[in-house]
Symmetry: C2
Subunit: 175 residues, 2 copies
């Protein structure tokens, strides 16, 4: 009786519902378990709970605070892209990306940031000058979201945007 919800045709739907459980959405704990089991981090350390929280916050388009099916589907291509990226820019195969490599990675993703901003980024996401995969993904997620926030407001593409205080807090506190 009646058409099935669109998602039931999707091979990922069963996987999603198994993780999401009763509430039909994925929270940070569920996401961490699922990503660890999926083996997406490969030989790198599995994602921390904090990075999982950032993933949810960055993709939470419908503002439920959790990850729905469409948001979940958006995540995997992003993670796979960043993983390829990470492996490519870790030229010396140290398992981490260092200042020089990180600078190339950020440029390759199309972000135009000053050396000063890059330094701040590295300092925030590195341990002893080395950026691990988990922190690399957290960094990419934030950079992507903040750039989106900026571009959405920079409609005239002038490279400058005006924020009201409340809007500024709203955009930046969720990251």
């Amino acid at each position: 009786y009646g058409a099935p919800p669109p998602a039931t045709n999707d091979p990922m739907w069963g996987y999603f519902t198994a993780i999401a459980g009763q509430d039909g959405e994925i929270d940070a704990d569920e996401l961490q378990r699922c990503l660890t089991q999926s083996g997406i981090s490969g030989t790198y350390t599995p994602f921390s709970l904090e990075t999982c929280k950032i993933m949810i916050a960055m993709l939470d388009r419908d503002h439920t605070g959790k990850m729905g099916f469409n948001e979940f589907k958006e995540l995997f291509p992003l993670l796979n892209g960043w993983k390829q990226n990470f492996m490519m820019f870790d030229r010396d195969r140290s398992g981490t990306v260092e200042l020089q490599e990180m600078s190339q990675a950020v440029n390759a993703m199309g972000y135009r940031v000053s050396p000063q901003a890059l330094n701040i980024i590295i300092r925030r996401y590195s341990k002893n000058g080395r950026v691990f995969f988990d922190d690399y993904v957290a960094c990419c997620l934030k950079l992507r979201s903040l750039t989106e926030v900026f571009r959405r407001r920079d409609t005239m593409q002038q490279g400058a945007v005006s924020f009201q205080y409340d809007d500024f807090i709203l955009c930046t506190m969720s990251i």
Copy 2:
């Protein structure tokens, strides 16, 4: 021979140097150990490494990526203030601050944020609608730094600020 460095008169100096070790500055791991040992979290769960990283990033005025003595001294009054705050607004003594209580706390700290921004803040820093002390401090640190960033630029106090892209990224990626 010569005057001692100013800090040696300070009773906290010995404590600081013992934690900081050879490099004379405190990193996130050292800070987490020190705060756990200091018992400042009381009966609440000790600070997570992520919150310790935020503490360092938020107070890192000289941009070394670590915590120097002056930054370290700035931290304790802040933490004690937020702890008192937290206990005061946890009216039902649940050990966590809930939506209503959080709203009062943010207002009491003098931040004027809309219900929408407050919702986003709560969603980001709560687990099942409850804000724990560790996340409360992370939230207060970020709100304080972002408001400072905004106010420093809003010299005419017009409640609106213009950011260049690089400046926006620089200010927000470090948080």
